[in-house]
């Protein structure tokens, strides 16, 4: 008997603590992020219940401030950003033919910093004065110790620092993996679209997140009595520093899901991604511009050069347009199979279009003066951050679930999930445009009955519960699909990239044999040349 065979198998819980396998790490991150999503979602439902009718129903003004702060913070710091990186941790090594992620121990350090950061942030609910209540960006001077005293707000600041450090560590690992662990033949211009989106995401994390750590450290010191930010200039400096992180993070929460949607669309049309090289170039341009537009959040402050930031913000249309044409070009002429993943992918682009188109309004300083701090902005950023991430995420989930778990999710339940999510999203967020236009300010727990905003607010509340129902359907789908034990096989969708060349779920070392890489769709090349079995051939092969 060999030594390895005699070794005792480690209990399953140890893989949660000290996993170095990128697949286990990615799965742990995904599960944790989704748990935070449910927590943030519950806070959103409470807010919507309060706003369903004028007057104070369930919570006080102070509690409402805590709810919107913790909802935004949970969703941005603890759900969407980690989710975007978690997909990369799981999929990037598989897509580029690597056995591991670079510096897996650093990634594990990052995972623990994220978890402890998340718990620290949420632990404010256990303190006497409640958690953070200065909004998800803790606007100074609202976040001073005088305006928002208490341990809860301090814990909020420390939690953000920890989770940001965790994300930086994971971003560094992803960048290292893409730069140094690609399989032979996998040049940069042969990387799958999803890996490209992860590359630019990692760049933005490394470029933007250290500034968040810096500004939160300065804010913490400021709250301890070290006067860092003072007067008008201090407020402007705080906002400059915060939004230098705060705008790129919007794209950190968007690009990976563009990758998910495009991969799902390309696979389900049986075509290569249209305009691949232009797509890669547009991503770089998109990323650089997204680092150059942060101060459009500050048009109304009078402390920045509005004209310059209006120009860069409007210029974002060019790379965004290229991505839309890539999507359309891939769909046109393809033999489309209407799987749930494809439908989620297309819906992602359509829903994000609403956010993008309304972004043109708020990119203009003149119009932004009217929309600023109102519900129009809330509608805009929920279409970009919620619709622009969650639909792409679910496209990725339905696409790669069989790879990660060995079983496919049920298509019928998936389509029900999609329909409910579309209805819920649009019922919740579209009326906000009208409310914003009519002047409803954000961060208010009530509104006068005479304004006539009640009907639209009630519609939004119903919509929020439909979103919750959609999530329940999704979780139900996961449970019944996992319990079905029907093996999906290594390549259930006739995939195009390397992850479909290995078993589902992949072994610890990812690949027994790596196929040759001749383009960004290596498996599609081989299938077209008859050198790799298609899905139908695999199904017909006797076990």
């Amino acid at each position: 008997m060999s030594t390895i065979a005699a070794r005792r198998r480690a209990p399953a819980w140890t893989s949660v603590i000290g996993a170095t396998d990128h697949k286990t790490l990615g799965r742990n991150l995904l599960i944790a992020a989704f748990a935070f999503f449910i927590a943030g979602g519950v806070l959103a439902l409470l807010m919507r219940l309060e706003l369903a009718a004028p007057g104070m129903q369930f919570v006080s003004h102070d509690t409402y401030s805590e709810l919107f702060t913790m909802h935004g913070s949970t969703m941005i710091y603890l759900f969407v950003t980690p989710l975007a990186l978690a997909l990369g941790v799981y999929l990037v090594p598989l897509q580029i033919g690597a056995a591991d992620i670079s510096a897996p121990r650093l990634a594990n350090v990052g995972f623990w910093l994220y978890i402890t950061g998340g718990l620290t942030l949420e632990s404010g609910f256990l303190t006497a004065q409640g958690p953070g209540k200065a909004g998800w960006f803790a606007t100074w001077p609202l976040s001073t110790s005088g305006a928002t005293p208490g341990t809860g707000m301090n814990l909020w600041v420390l939690g953000v620092i920890m989770s940001a450090l965790g994300m930086i560590a994971i971003g560094v690992c992803l960048l290292g993996t893409i730069m140094r662990r690609r399989a032979p033949g996998m040049t940069l211009l042969r990387m799958p679209p999803f890996t490209w989106t992860q590359l630019v995401t990692a760049l933005m994390v490394i470029g933007g997140f250290p500034v968040l750590v810096l500004v939160m450290t300065l804010l913490y010191l400021d709250r301890q009595g070290v006067h860092i930010f003072n007067g008008f200039e201090g407020a402007i400096d705080y906002q400059n520093l915060f939004w230098f992180y705060g705008h790129p993070v919007v794209y950190v929460m968007f690009f990976p899901f563009v990758g998910c949607a495009l991969e799902a669309i390309a696979t389900n049309t049986g075509r290569r991604l249209f305009g691949y090289r232009l797509f890669a170039l547009s991503l770089l341009l998109f990323t650089a511009l997204s680092m150059s537009v942060w101060a459009h959040h500050m048009y109304t402050t009078g402390g920045i050069t509005n004209r310059y930031f209006a120009f860069t913000s409007t210029a974002l249309l060019v790379p965004a347009g290229i991505e839309y044409f890539d999507m359309l070009g891939t769909l046109i002429g393809g033999s489309i199979i209407y799987r749930t993943s494809l439908l989620f992918g297309v819906t992602f682009f359509l829903q994000f279009l609403v956010g993008g188109a309304s972004g043109i309004f708020v990119a203009s300083p003149t119009l932004d003066y009217h929309a600023h701090d109102g519900y129009f902005v809330i509608a805009h950023f929920h279409y970009t951050l919620f619709a622009g991430s969650i639909f792409g995420f679910f496209a990725g989930v339905y696409h790669w679930f069989p790879k990660a778990f060995g079983v496919t999710l049920r298509e019928g339940l998936g389509k029900l999930h999609l329909v409910l999510l579309i209805i819920g999203t649009n019922m919740t967020f579209f009326p906000m445009f009208f409310l914003g236009q009519e002047g409803m300010p954000r961060r208010v727990a009530t509104y006068p009955r005479s304004t006539g905003w009640e009907t639209l607010n009630t519609v939004e509340t119903v919509g929020a519960f439909i979103i919750a129902l959609a999530i329940v359907v999704f979780l139900w789908n996961v449970v019944v699909s996992l319990r079905s034990h029907v093996a999906a096989g290594p390549d259930p969708w006739d995939g195009q990239s390397l992850e479909w060349a290995t078993s589902s779920p992949p072994p610890r070392h990812n690949f027994d044999v790596l196929p040759p890489v001749r383009s960004y769709a290596p498996l599609l090349d081989l299938k077209k040349a008859g050198e790799w079995p298609r899905r139908r051939e695999l199904e017909e092969t006797p076990a």
Binding site: A10, T14, S15, I17, G18, A19, T20, D21, G97, A98, A99, P104, R105, L106, N108, V109, G110, W112, L113, T116, G117, T120, T151, N154, L158, I161, M162, L165, G166, M179, R180, R182, A183, P184, L188, L199, V200, L203, I206, G207, G208, V211, Y220, I236, N240, L241, F244, A280, L284, L285, T287, A288, L289, M291, S292, I304, T305, R307, Y308, R508
Partner: protein
């Protein structure tokens, strides 16, 4: 693989263009400094990848060097988890007292020691494979 740094350099150049624009048009030194620092950081990372370039061995090289096909990385690394928790404990200590910073430091020492053991075991496994 040195060419892998090209997208980083391209991104850094784009950031530089934006920084130049801000130095010219913005009246806030902080605006221009932030984007210039991001560009400088990207140049540094690209330079790092150019200097320390490395690529995965192809099949023929792996045959000539059997140690390249050995997986020495352990499945579990408690040292790294301990380091993560230690850093978090020290940050937590900023709010709840110096004692947590000391506990965090202790945990950090344990974590680093454990990591050294892991790395030594990894190196030994590779040396055995080479023999």
């Amino acid at each position: 693989m040195r060419r892998a740094a090209i997208p980083l350099l391209a991104w850094a150049v784009l950031l530089t263009c934006s920084a130049v624009g801000l130095w010219i048009y913005s009246h806030s030194w902080l605006n221009a400094t932030l984007i210039s620092a991001a560009a400088a950081l990207t140049y540094l990372i690209a330079l790092g990848f150019v200097i320390r370039h490395r690529r995965m061995p192809d099949a023929s090289e792996a045959r000539a060097h059997p140690e390249l096909s050995v997986r020495a990385l352990p499945d579990l690394s408690f040292g790294s988890a301990l380091i993560g928790i230690a850093i978090a404990t020290m940050i937590f200590g900023a709010e709840f007292g110096l004692f947590l910073v000391y506990i965090g430091l202790g945990l950090l020492l344990f974590g680093v020691a454990r990591l050294i053991f892991e790395l030594r075991a990894e190196r030994r496994a590779l040396e055995e494979a080479r023999r």
